[in-house]
Amino acid sequence: MNERSLSTTTRATVPIHRRATLWDRLLEPVLGVNACFIYVFLYMPIVVLIAFSFSASPFSAVWGGFSIDWYIQLFQDSEIARALRNTLIVASFSMLFATIIGTMTALALSKFQFRGRNAFETTLNLPIVIPDIVQGISLLMFLVLVVHLALGLPTIIIAHTVFNISYVAVIVRARLHGFDRRLEEAAMDLGATEWQTFWKITFPLIWPGILSGALLAFTLSLDEFVVTFFVTGPGATTLPIQVYSMVKRGVTPEINALATLMLVASILLVTLSILLQRRRSS
């Protein structure tokens, strides 16, 4: 181990004298250009979108000087306000339910040994890879035909909770991996009940994981489209659905402004979630 790290540092500091081939000389610029292209493809559209959200022109592909009129119009648009309200309701409730259920699931998985535990854990992670469209159709069928629910905000909340549980459970489980179960035993040994042990020991040590899972759940719910599209009902339009129906009528700078705001919100939430996940227990 030590020797290896020593040799790498030597290699890094002492120039290697050998004849560079043509390929060697070309490699660096080629890779550089490639990286540039990737960035252009990935981020150019987004940069353009953000730029045009500040354009005064009513045509989304023409620059008409800087303005924040579209943002002002956005905030005055009652349809969008309603969609935003719906989205926040759905995101909040599905985050809450998914966090509670997902955390309890993760705790049970790490605490108890039971038959079929591995199978349970695998199937728990499955919704992460199940195609959204399959999830959408199956939830629609289940909620309407089996449970006989009317489509609307509650069905969207249920659907979002379902797929969010998996994400929360996976993140909390990762946090629990480094958690010493003997700490809980020590607490119970000193007179704490299970409930007290959870709030005094377990929760303070794993809350960054729980919060991180909650934030991710909230973010995923904010811009969920496919599943929502299947289980939405009259009066239950969320922002992504609203954007979709507006785009059908033509892309306006107002949509650019809305998309920019959603992008900013998502980046903030995900960054916070990742920071929390990295945070070590102090």
């Binding site: 010493d180 003997r182 035993e185 020590a186 119970m188 040994d189 007179g191 020991i201 227990s281």
Partner: protein, 362 residues
């Protein structure tokens, strides 16, 4: 007779098909320093966990202060455990760690304060109240774990190799401190260790465990002087094992023939004639002389094959016959020590040699 502090009746625990604790029965007296001694993996920790209530026994009963504890949750047992890994709460400082048990008992801050000061000075941690566990040395962490378990005044303290992670010097110091502490507080200590020396120096009584079974219970000198099985004799200290056949039995003496040499040893009858047995004798119980002694009965001749000088004493390998070599330890009292190749007389007082029970191991 006052009731015992802890009593185990035919306690067994298995994980799946793997038996870890097998039919353990023990009575531990109030205020006793009781050790569970055995090699790593023999089921000591599991026994403590059953006592603390973290695991449920597969069968058998646990009595704590005279009442049946089976099924009672850990927080309802008047027993505290000092974990092998200490298990200090990383998000709490020393004060909060130690106060935890008192807070769970719903004591007020003003009640907690004096108790905390007392216990922290007892374990010499005064002044470190606001440190977090990771800011403490191993020895300090150990003392926090001890204080945390002691502060609620449990009637029994369980200690799982509490000194195992400390260096030798600190361990010796802590052994004395723990022993003093136990005397002073008069709390029953159930102390788990795989270190025979630690068990011998600290305990009132020791239970030696092997493969989940208790093979012998007794005071340290009983365990050392009269090991019940070959395992015990081998695990605790150094022992010569001599295999032979019984010639005659005159309770409590047993005469054994070892390759034509007759020896007498202490044994508990019944022993039938010509049965194969093992005699155990400690190296330091054997005397060495240059001249024949007229008084001793258990006396043999031998040849010094090898010797190792150890400072206060010397270890000799003495050959009695083709297949019988004994280890002998002699204190270096004078300079007239023996040399390699010397012909010597050796022997031992008969009560020091012990006929072992046949091993009950399946």
């Amino acid at each position: 007779m006052d009731e015992s502090s802890v009593e185990l009746k035919n306690l067994s625990k298995q994980f799946g098909a793997h038996p870890v604790v097998r039919d353990v029965s023990l009575q531990i007296k109030r205020g006793e320093f009781f050790s569970l001694l055995g090699p790593s993996g023999c089921g000591k920790t599991t026994t403590l966990r059953l006592l603390a209530g973290f695991d449920n026994p597969s069968s058998g009963e646990i009595f704590i202060n005279g009442s049946l504890a089976n099924g009672a949750p850990p927080y309802a047992r008047d027993v505290n455990l000092v974990f092998q890994s200490y298990a200090l709460f990383p998000h709490m400082n020393v004060y909060q760690n130690v106060a935890f048990g008192l807070e769970m008992k719903k004591l007020s801050r003003s009640q907690i304060q004096p108790m905390l000061e007392e216990v922290l000075s007892l374990v010499r941690l005064t002044g470190l109240e606001s440190r977090f566990p990771k800011q403490l040395s191993g020895g300090q962490q150990q003392r926090v774990a001890l204080a945390r378990a002691l502060v609620t005044h449990p009637s029994v303290l369980l200690l799982d190799e509490p000194l195992g992670a400390l260096d030798l010097k600190l361990r010796k110091e802590m052994q004395l401190e723990l022993k003093k502490l136990q005397r002073k507080l008069n709390i029953t200590f159930i102390y788990v260790t795989h270190d025979q020396e630690e068990a011998l120096t600290m305990s009132d009584r020791i239970a030696v465990m092997d493969h989940g079974r208790v093979v012998q219970v007794g005071r340290p000198e009983e365990i050392y002087e009269q090991p019940a099985t070959r395992f015990v004799a081998d695990f605790i200290g150094e022992t010569n094992f001599i295999e032979g056949k019984i010639v005659s039995c005159d309770p409590p003496w047993v005469k054994v023939d070892v390759q034509g040499i007759q020896m007498s040893a202490l044994g508990i009858p019944p022993y039938e004639k010509s049965r194969e047995v093992v005699i155990a004798i400690r190296p330091e119980k054997i005397w060495l002389q240059k001249e024949h002694s007229s008084s001793s009965e258990n006396q043999f001749t031998g040849l010094i094959e090898e010797l190792v000088y150890l400072g206060t004493d010397t270890r000799y390998l003495v050959r009695l016959s083709d297949e019988l070599i004994l280890t002998v330890r002699q204190q270096n009292l004078d300079h007239s020590a023996f040399r390699k190749g010397d012909r010597v007389y050796l022997g031992w007082p008969a009560p020091c040699a012990q006929v072992l029970h046949p091993e009950t191991e399946a």
